[in-house]
């Protein structure tokens, strides 16, 4: 029976289902998401697609987050029949980023994996044609990484050092002092 509102499955529940068949596939799990071991990620994804209870037949989206020490590839899966959604993360090394491709399972992943490869530099072994999607082939580096220095100074230090918001502030005090001074 489908839920009337999309139900977000807790990561612990998803982890239990995966552990029942693949005991070593889950690295950790919390209420929001489940973290998979990269080595057995492909098998676990195939499992959660074909599992009756999880039924993750619809790949909602996939993206990547640079966590400085590692890169997380984030997947959201949904079941249209049961109307639930859950989140899966696969961590990978920051320098040698590589996660097994799920394009053999979902054809919707082909373009999204190319996008992640282009902007974040994660390699997807098993992908039919892993080339850059938006940028040209000779583009130096992968711009969504936090250490990409295309902009002067990379991540602006000024913004992270904003004072804490207090009641009564209008936001005008965060404006640069004078235009062109480089804040």
């Amino acid at each position: 029976m489908p839920h009337s509102v999309t139900l977000t499955l807790p990561g612990t529940q998803v982890a239990e289902r995966i552990r029942a068949s693949l005991p070593n596939a889950v690295k950790s799990a919390n209420t929001d998401y489940v973290v998979l071991e990269p080595a057995s990620a492909f098998d676990a994804m195939a499992l959660l697609r074909d599992d009756e209870q999880l039924d993750g037949k619809f790949l909602v989206q996939m993206c990547s987050v640079d966590m400085i020490s590692r890169i997380d590839v984030v997947y959201h899966f949904a079941s249209l029949a049961q109307n639930h959604i859950f989140e899966v993360k696969v961590p990978t090394d920051h320098e040698q980023a590589s996660v097994p491709s799920i394009s053999p399972l979902w054809s919707g992943a082909i373009l999204q994996e190319r996008e992640i490869y282009d902007l974040m530099g994660v390699k997807f072994p098993g992908h039919p044609e892993l080339t850059r999607l938006f940028l040209w082939e000779s583009f130096p580096g992968h711009p969504l990484r936090k250490d990409f220095m295309a902009m002067p100074g990379g991540r602006k230090p000024g913004l992270s050092q904003f004072p804490k918001q207090v009641v009564g502030q209008t936001g005008q005090e965060f404006r640069p002092k004078a235009p062109g001074t480089g804040e």
């Binding site: 509102v5 999309t6 929001d32 037949k57 619809f58 790949l59 909602v60 989206q61 993206c63 987050v65 640079d66 984030v74 959201h76 249209l80 109307n83 989140e87 979902w106 054809s107 919707g108 992943a109 082909i110 373009l111 999204q112 996008e115 902007l119 850059r132 999607l133 938006f134 940028l135 040209w136 711009p143 969504l144 990409f148 902009m151 991540r155 602006k156 913004l159 992270s160 904003f162 804490k164 918001q165 502030q169 209008t170 936001g171 965060f174």
Partner: protein, 368 residues
């Protein structure tokens, strides 16, 4: 005597009227048949996801206008919902209703454009597209009346909407949804849906099967044309869609003709929603007090809306700072193109143009 032919590569785009922007399709054709199709995108890549990491949450709202510039309100709404989910902000009732009204007006405007451009691609050069533009203009006039902008509205805010509606808005909206547009949509029914030429041109072109649609993560009218009843306004209601009565039009064959009919029917359903929202529109504030440099707690949120193109999702990661740590947009225009190859290979090159028109991509959203 059969004529021997060699495969030839043909560039469709990046500057071509049928590609709806700077989208390039490299088709390898053998005679009239397409052997292979490769899409080349990125001409409109503005690296919004990177730029957003250096701007505050509020400063990022204008980016969402410039993604899908034909459906700016839907982009605004999706982004604001994701930040509100992350920060746990309650939105006032009046703002919720205004959001529904504007999101549905935007759907009418975007579907008008999609229908007109699709008929254009079918070969009815310029006349039908001007009919659709005429109706879209009236919606844009209402946007201009409310927020001063017609295309890049920048209307929604985190915690509400930027301005309350002016006094003359509701009478104008009433005229639009009760007198003007229903009459126009009747006209569409007579001119387009029952048109034998369009039926012959668009039936069985660009067919999507339900299995293909789910496997390729399609969403929006292209998913519904395959017969799958899936609309996020019903399945995962946001704003006040759970209080509205409306139907989800679905197709049977998954072809380009079905998608056009679904869009026209969805516009009528949008008018139904707007009428209910107008009737129930409560008083009260249009915006809750949210600091301009809002700092949501560290964490992540994924929220999604049914934009005219499909499921528009925003995945926001915060590290507790004033700017998002990571901002990812699930762009329906990009993901709906996953099936372009399967839909076009083996068909004639003229059908590829019709197929692309029926997917209704927006290159601003595709490339971001």
């Amino acid at each position: 005597m059969p004529i021997k032919s060699e495969p030839v590569e043909v560039n469709i785009g990046p500057q071509h009227p049928s590609t709806h922007g700077v989208f390039r399709m490299v088709a390898k054709i053998d005679g009239e048949r397409i052997v292979d199709v490769k899409m080349v995108v990125g001409y409109l890549h503005r690296s919004m996801e990177k730029l957003a990491e250096e701007r505050t949450f509020t400063q990022n709202i204008p980016f969402t206008d410039r993604m899908d510039y034909l459906a700016a309100m839907s982009g605004n709404l999706g982004y604001c919902l994701s930040v509100e989910k992350l920060a746990g902000i309650e939105v006032p009732e009046r703002a919720q209703y205004l959001r529904v009204i504007f999101a549905e007006l935007q759907r009418v405007a975007s579907h008008c454009m999609a229908t007109g451009a699709f008929i254009n691609d079918c070969g009815a050069w310029q006349t039908p597209v001007m009919y659709c533009f005429r109706d879209r203009e009236k919606v844009l006039d209402l946007f201009e009346m409310t927020c001063g902008a017609r295309l890049t509205t920048n209307y929604m805010r985190i915690g509400g909407v930027a301005f309350d509606i002016p006094d003359e808005f509701l009478p104008a909206l009433d005229r639009l949804v009760n007198d003007d547009l229903p009459f126009r949509f009747e006209e569409y029914d007579q001119l387009l849906v029952g048109n034998e030429i369009i039926m012959m041109r668009a039936r069985d072109v660009g067919v999507v099967t339900p299995e293909m649609a789910i496997n390729a993560s399609l969403s929006g009218p292209i998913l519904r044309s395959a017969g799958i009843v899936w609309d996020l306004r019903k399945a995962d209601p946001y704003a006040v869609y759970d209080r509205m009565k409306f139907d989800i039009p679905v197709g049977y064959n998954g072809d380009a003709y079905d998608r056009m009919c679904i869009r026209i029917e969805e516009m009528k359903q949008s008018l139904r929603i707007i009428r209910q929202a107008m009737h129930d529109l409560p008083g009260g504030p249009h915006k809750t007090d949210v600091p301009l440099a809002i700092r949501p707690p560290a964490g992540e949120a994924y929220s999604r809306v049914e934009s005219p193109k499909g499921e528009l999702g925003f995945y926001v990661v915060s590290d507790g700072g004033p700017a998002p740590y990571r901002w990812h947009v699930r762009a329906p225009s990009l993901i709906n193109l996953s099936v372009l190859k399967e839909m076009t290979v083996g068909k004639s090159i003229a059908d590829a143009i019709v197929t692309l028109g029926s997917i209704d991509i927006n290159v601003g959203e595709l490339d971001r």
